[in-house]
């Protein structure tokens, strides 16, 4: 195998693989990327056995073939090559060695057999949907911050993608807060919900930042494939049932408070400085269009700030984890935010006109 490619193109491609390849692997070949050269271009693949990322790119292929090369080392060598370099990659099958050449530099790297590189099965993906990139970005980005972290609850460690027959929605929850986002366009296709694992969600989100075209998403009950132009991600899905989230969305939160997102976010950030790093408790005491935000520290320190709000209801006194509120306000960014509180123990709903198809729930702390 032998090909020539511009440094810029190769580096940009390799940067997509760095977070897919695990730094510490029990199976050595998983630290490598597979490079296949065919007439007209290259295909680079990385996998951690749960997810596979493949990218096609144009190169001047002199001789077709395939190799595997340590991902991190390859990336570092290409990163340090002069900017205008033309990178030549060729292998010596007899010695099991890959040569990376540019300018006066020559690197020889031992390689592992390309046939040992695992390939993920992507047959029988029955459901296929096409979504606009901008809308899919919202589906992912408005939910990903709510994904769980706990290894013992795998079903929460991802985004739940499902359909209600009218449109497609994503939901994520870590058990304390929940976010739900729906597509504005109707998609009549009905299918069973799937849970996309956390790592896949984060990779998709990263690639979506630089991608603006339509997205093709195919999936079965156990696997999914997403095509983003030259990039293809195949991933296993979380094999579990997502909790019945609809039942926790309260229907009768009748006390509402409307605030300016940016200034309220700054207030919470300021007041919560004093709170314990672990708990981040802030208290809202709302009455007569004034919300007093307060927080206390371990050493009996106290911080308060009053904010003018539009409030309809009798009186509310409620505690929250400041981080959860700030995460939502950071997604909303600006405009007016509506908090809907309940008199009972139900969670608080946060909504915003800017994000019409998105709803956030935050469970309060014990009073």
């Amino acid at each position: 195998m032998e090909f020539v490619i511009k440094k810029k193109n190769l580096l940009e491609c390799l940067s997509h693989f760095q977070s897919v390849v695990e730094k510490r692997n029990t199976i050595p070949i998983l630290s490598n990327v597979k490079v296949s050269a065919l007439q007209g271009g290259l295909t680079i693949t990385a996998t951690d056995l749960a997810m596979e990322l493949t990218e096609n790119l144009v190169a001047n292929v002199i001789q077709a073939g395939g190799i595997t090369i340590p991902s991190q080392l390859f990336f570092d060598i290409i990163r340090k090559a002069p900017d205008q370099s033309e990178i030549i990659l060729k292998n010596d099958e007899k010695n099991n060695t890959v040569y990376v050449l540019f300018g006066d530099s020559k690197f020889s790297i031992p390689m592992l057999p390309v046939d040992d590189f695992p390939v993920m099965d992507e047959d029988k993906l029955e459901i296929e949907i096409k979504v606009k990139s901008k809308n899919f970005k919202n589906l992912v980005n408005n939910c990903k911050f709510c994904m769980g972290l706990d290894e013992s609850r795998q079903y929460l460690n991802g985004i739940y993608l499902h359909s209600n027959g009218e449109t497609v929605s994503t939901v994520a929850t870590d058990g304390h807060r929940l976010s739900k986002c729906s597509l504005p366009e109707p998609i009549k296709q009905s299918f069973d919900g799937i849970i996309i694992p956390k790592k896949t969600v984060l990779e998709i989100s990263k690639i979506l930042e630089e991608y603006d075209e339509d997205i093709n998403l195919s999936f079965s009950k156990t696997r999914m494939r997403i095509l983003l132009g030259n990039i293809k991600i195949v991933s296993k899905l979380v094999n579990a049932s997502f909790p019945d989230y609809e039942s926790v969305i309260p229907k009768d939160n009748d006390q509402t408070m409307v605030v300016d997102c940016k200034s309220f976010s700054e207030t919470i950030d300021r007041v919560s400085t004093i709170s314990d790093e672990k708990f981040r408790t802030v208290k809202f005491e709302i009455s007569k269009n004034v919300c007093v935000v307060s927080s206390f520290g371990n050493d009996k320190s106290l911080g308060t700030e009053s904010v003018d709000v539009d409030f309809s209801g009798s009186q509310v006194s409620i505690n929250f984890n400041a981080r959860y509120i700030l995460d939502v306000l950071n997604i909303i960014k600006n405009g007016k935010v509506k908090f809907s509180f309940s008199n009972k123990t139900a969670p608080t709903i946060l909504e915003c006109d800017n994000l019409k198809n998105t709803l956030f729930l935050i469970m309060q702390m014990r009073a």
């Binding site: 013992s152 929850t173 058990g175 304390h176 469970m363 309060q364 702390m365 014990r366």
Partner: protein, 438 residues
């Protein structure tokens, strides 16, 4: 000024309270499962019996010297300790209970500090029968050293002692003499490992540690040892902590009295430990989020096995029923047939206080937080009043275990620790109250 009160040979002193035959005789108290020596009377110390020595290694000395050997009886020691600490708290405002037999207290504003301490030591001896030593100095580290000097007067022969059990280091010359004659390993916060490092750097005694470059110490061993250096110089870095810091974890585990093979026996031990751990947690008014159960064989077994499993709750809890349900599941997950197990235990961690509990979104409708708290409080109140284990989980069949039961000589559970030489629980069990025949 800060003082450190330390009870002399505490466990042995407690045993002597109720058994005068032990006075003036060599006595040792053993650790859990009667494994090692953890308290020695002065007579036993003079025979060369070392602290922490395994019993089997000194069996010949014990036999030859007619040493009285006792299993540890923590219900007595805990009870006597509470009495001593209460005397201190009644007399002083800033008291930090440092361990079962040690307490720091502040002497700020007291004019004649030694006199005050002698008064306290006499009061404790009179009211509880326990002899204590008190060291007074500018910092906690120096108070610890002063206390050691009181107990080991022979090592500081040039020093003039005005009182038998109280010492205040007032003169700089005296302090220098004491620090020069105190091995660096005996300084509070310097253990065996650190002392090897310090010795390699030519720091052999407390005076040399005091005079060393504190930046070198910080760079090599961190801020904690740097604080020790500063405290030796008289700079107060550690204050009296009157409120308890939030615990990081609570672990209850015991090595079994004999090896256990059956799941039901291990489960029956675990349920007792779970109840003890949760009750301890509730005493600190804490709610836990993380529950870990571990199980292991002895490392000397032919087939060794050790495993642990952890579960994280969405909402922290104090509810014994929920914690036991999870612990039981975790044990079932890690238990494997055909091993002889020597230890099981539970660790509760990731604690929250009542004001900082994040509620669960998923099952918020089913959890009644007030009911849960009230029920646990009621159980604790009943057990405090009528004896530990009076109300317990229905899965718990260890009716003979709980130490406050009225009848004593019932058959112990198969997993209970070896306590072959245990004295009666004179102060905490009705049937063990000493009888006087007239």
């Amino acid at each position: 000024m800060i003082a450190l009160l330390d009870c002399n040979n505490f466990y042995v002193s407690c045993e002597r309270l109720f058994n005068p035959k032990l006075i003036n005789r060599p006595v040792v108290v053993l650790s859990n499962n009667d494994g090692c020596i953890i308290s020695r009377s002065n007579e036993a110390k003079r025979m060369g019996i070392k602290m922490g020595e395994p019993v089997f290694k000194v069996k010949h000395i014990l036999r030859k010297g007619k040493v009285i050997v006792l299993s540890s009886n923590y219900s007595i020691y805990g009870d006597i300790s509470n009495r001593i600490m209460n005397i201190l708290k009644d007399s002083l405002s800033d008291v930090e209970i440092y361990s079962i037999d040690e307490a720091f207290f502040s002497l700020r504003g007291v004019n004649d500090r030694q006199k005050k301490c002698i008064y306290l030591a006499d009061k404790i001896l009179k009211w509880t029968g326990i002899p204590v030593s008190i060291g007074i100095a500018k910092t906690k580290t120096l108070a610890k050293i002063a206390n050691r000097v009181v107990k080991k007067k022979k090592e500081y022969s040039r020093l003039k002692f005005n009182y038998k059990n109280v010492l205040e280091v007032k003169k700089d010359n005296d302090l220098e003499y004491i620090l020069n004659n105190t091995n660096v390993q005996d300084v509070w916060g310097v253990g065996k490992k650190l002392s090897i490092f310090l010795n390699q750097n030519n720091i052999k005694n407390a005076q040399e540690l005091k005079q060393c470059d504190e930046n070198f110490i910080r760079e090599k061993k961190g801020v904690v040892l740097q604080r020790t250096v500063l405290e030796l110089r008289g700079v107060k870095c550690n204050y009296i902590e009157t409120s308890l810091p939030i615990k990081k974890s609570i672990c209850v585990s015991r090595s079994f009295g004999r090896k256990l093979y059956y799941y039901r026996d291990i489960r029956s031990a675990l349920i007792v430990f779970v109840q003890k751990a949760t009750s301890k947690m509730r005493k600190y008014n804490l709610f836990c989020r993380v529950i870990t159960v571990f199980l292991k064989t002895s490392k000397y077994e032919k087939e060794v096995y050790s495993n642990s499993k952890t579960y994280t709750l969405i909402e922290p809890t104090i509810d014994i029923r929920l914690i036991w349900k999870i612990a039981d599941d975790l044990l079932r997950n890690i238990f494997k047939d055909s091993f002889l197990y020597s230890k099981v235990g539970i660790i509760l961690s990731d604690f929250y206080d009542k004001k900082n509990i994040q509620k669960s979104l998923i099952d918020y409708k089913s959890i009644s937080e007030t009911k849960e708290i009230k029920l646990m409080k009621t159980i604790d109140n009943i057990n405090d009043r009528f004896g530990y284990g009076k109300i317990r989980l229905s899965s718990d069949n260890n009716q003979n275990f709980f130490s406050n039961s009225i009848v004593r000589n019932r058959k112990s559970p198969s997993w209970q620790m070896k306590t072959k030489y245990c004295s009666p629980c004179y102060t905490t069990r009705w049937c063990d109250i000493p009888k006087v025949k007239v």
